[in-house]
């Protein structure tokens, strides 16, 4: 049966005076279940456009909604009406971004909000959180104007005592799923984007997408990551772990937006080795090891490293024992060539990127847990955008960013770090060559590319949503 013939027969079945659910079953039985509502939408559009039977359209619509309700649940029936409204141009499509940690500054949150920024002109956007959020905070933290979006806080009494930290791992199979409040809400939108590391939200929207920054937990109680229409992943490293831990292949690869381009990159940089990483209490970013390596470098090659400095920049919470220990250790060395720059402004960070020549990043060194290895490495991309030569740990997402000997170096030990850094210190021409190649290569991660890829993906989905391409 051709598509045109199927649609005509579906339209006739929907227009029947006495409901003919069995007829719809028969007509759709040879089509995949996921495409049933595509076929119904096409048939309803035909009925709406033909409009030659008095009272035909509401009857057909009601019949389609009732059939979907009985076969696929009330959410699909609601989806069909929403979809029809958008398909007939009666309103703009709606999109909800959900993130259970949006009230905390982070790379994953920046990813989600940049995604919204790329789509806000085409969708009516609602941002769903569990703690109140203001557009002003988003502007201050990420420099984005999302004041045109709606904001909705979904209260979670179960986490009222947990301060800012909402940990889905606390939810076990012995308790009701508190995140189903979000599941229920998701059905009210055309597109639902779950940007959380929270796979306990069941998607009920017409188009559902999960952005996975890393699969932290294994499938257990209330695991619904595989129930989303699409899973977007931020790096091949993350995709590999989704396959290992969640046992399915994610769909779309979009690198995070790296957004630290200088107005002009100076050819002659200062003799500075820069590290930009949060001062984690567990020391996973390995700043102590960097100090150790720099001191060794200086002791071994005092003449060659006479003018070189190590600058460790990054954010930290108050009362951070790791940072205090690091500060004491640096003080004890008496070496004035090592500087700590904690919680600096974005302008200061820009200046450091502009001046520094070499970039160190060792997250993942001496680490056996894959979750604690860098999943992507935003700051490496930022450094490359500013023409720094990255010397980074050979693991995780860092392998996708740095091409050894071309755009920088990858190391597995401190000894390798020292050896490659020394080469760069003694060879300004190599520094310039690698810096230029790094800058060129960093375009793979820049924000215009992110915006382009996000728009392409969502506009294609929206196009199918309004005009289903039937097989």
């Amino acid at each position: 049966m051709t598509q045109a013939s199927l649609q005509s027969q579906l339209a006739s079945a929907l227009l029947a005076r006495i409901p003919r659910g069995g007829e719809l079953d028969r007509l759709l039985q040879s089509q995949p279940q996921s495409s049933h509502w595509d076929h119904l939408l096409a048939a309803l559009k035909k009925v709406a456009n033909d409009d030659n039977v008095a009272g035909g359209f509401p009857r057909a619509l009601r019949a389609a909604a009732q059939w979907l309700r009985s076969r696929l649940g009330p959410a699909r029936a609601a989806n069909l009406l929403s979809r029809l409204e958008v398909a007939l141009g009666l309103r703009r499509p709606t999109l909800a971004l959900y993130d259970h940690c949006l009230h905390i500054i982070g790379g994953g949150q920046k990813y989600g909000l940049t995604l919204v920024d790329a789509l806000k002109d085409d969708f009516d956007v609602t941002i769903l959180t569990h703690r109140p959020m203001e557009p002003a905070s988003i502007r201050d933290w990420y420099g984005m104007d999302l004041s045109a979006c709606s904001y909705r806080t979904v209260e979670l009494p179960e986490f009222a005592d947990s301060g800012s930290h909402i940990d889905p791992a606390r939810v076990t199979r012995n308790m009701a799923n508190p995140f189903h409040r979000v599941s229920r809400l998701s059905g009210a939108f055309d597109v639902f984007v779950n940007n959380s590391m929270n796979e306990m939200v069941f998607p009920l929207a017409g188009i559902s997408t999960m952005v996975c920054h890393f699969p932290e937990r294994r499938p257990a109680a209330y695991f619904y990551a595989d129930r989303y229409d699409y899973v977007i992943y931020n790096s091949e490293y993350t995709a590999g772990w989704i396959e290992k831990k969640w046992k399915f292949t994610p769909h779309v690869h979009i690198y995070p937006p790296v957004d630290m381009p200088p107005e002009e990159t100076p050819e002659d940089k200062d003799p500075i080795i820069l590290s930009v990483a949060r001062f984690e209490q567990g020391g996973s970013k390995r700043q102590k090891e960097m100090v150790q390596a720099f001191l060794t470098l200086r002791r071994r090659f005092p003449e060659e490293t006479r003018d070189w400095h190590l600058v460790l920049a990054g954010g930290s919470s108050e009362n951070n024992p790791y940072l205090e220990e690091l500060r004491s250790e640096i003080r004890a060395t008496g070496d004035t060539h090592i500087r700590l720059r904690v919680n600096i402004t974005s302008e200061e960070l820009h200046t450091l990127y502009l001046r520094a020549a070499v970039f160190w990043h060792l997250c993942g060194l001496h680490q056996t847990d894959p979750a604690l290895v860098e999943h992507f490495g935003m700051t490496i991309g930022e450094a490359m955008q500013n023409g720094l030569v990255p010397v980074v740990f050979d693991g995780g997402g860092q392998r996708e960013i740095v091409k050894p000997g071309e755009t920088g170096f990858r190391v597995r030990t401190l000894e390798e770090l020292i050896r490659h850094t020394r080469r760069l210190i003694n060879d300004p021409a190599m520094r310039r060559r690698c810096g230029r190649a790094a800058l060129e290569s960093s375009r793979r991660f820049d924000r215009p590319r992110f915006t382009r890829e996000v728009r392409q993906f969502f506009m294609e989905r929206l196009n199918h949503y309004t005009n289903p391409q039937l097989p």
Binding site: A48, N49, D51, F57, P58, L61, R62, A65, R69, R71, L72, G73, P74, A75, R76, A77, A78, L81, L84, E85, L88, G89, L90, A169, T172, N174, N177, H180, S183, R184, G187, F202, L204, R218, P219, A220, A221, Y222, F223, Y224, R227, K244, K245, T296, R300, H366, T368, D369, P370, A371, L372, T413, L414, E415
Partner: protein, 161 residues
């Protein structure tokens, strides 16, 4: 196509659909069927950190169900008129049965308590051994780094001389 008319007709049906949506008892009903599945675990795949967390969770679950004796307040009935009678009868039966089952369940309770305590002790012991091992591995890595630095220094000294 009269857009305004179609809009009004969709709005009209949306009201009904919205009632279906709101009256669904749970998310599974909304989705038209069961949504929760059992996910078998392969503990051999777990990292040490994941195993630690899992063991902690399991100990908590065991601890929560340590006492197998039935609690009278857990006997309920949803029947409007017969409910209180049914509950009373069931509680009476339970009291009578307790004469026989109590001694067995009391022994089971003691066994569970000792067993959970033993597992907790084993858990603590493993953690201590693990931190000792981590410290040894850290020292070993440091020593290896130092040795390789000494070797390089020696090579540099030989080259210079």
């Amino acid at each position: 196509m009269d857009t305004e008319k179609i809009k009004a007709e969709i709005e009209d049906i949306k009201r009904d659909v919205s009632i279906w949506y709101r009256s669904a008892a749970n998310v599974a009903d909304l989705a038209g069927g069961s949504i929760d599945r059992h996910h078998p675990l392969d503990l051999w795949e777990f990292s040490d950190r994941e195993l630690d967390a899992w063991m902690g969770d399991q100990l908590t679950l065991l601890n929560e169900s340590i006492d197998p004796r039935p609690v009278p307040s857990e006997i309920t009935s949803h029947r409007r008129f017969l409910g209180p009678v049914i509950v009373r009868v069931k509680r009476l039966i339970m009291k009578l049965l307790n004469l026989y089952t109590h001694s067995i369940l009391e022994r089971q309770h003691r066994f569970n308590t000792e067993s959970v305590a033993l597992q907790l002790a084993a858990f603590i012991r493993i953690r201590r051994i693990q931190s000792g091992l981590d410290e040894i591995l850290r020292q070993l890595a440091e020593r290896r780094e130092l040795e390789s630095l000494r070797e390089v220094r020696g090579e540099i000294g030989e080259t210079r001389s």
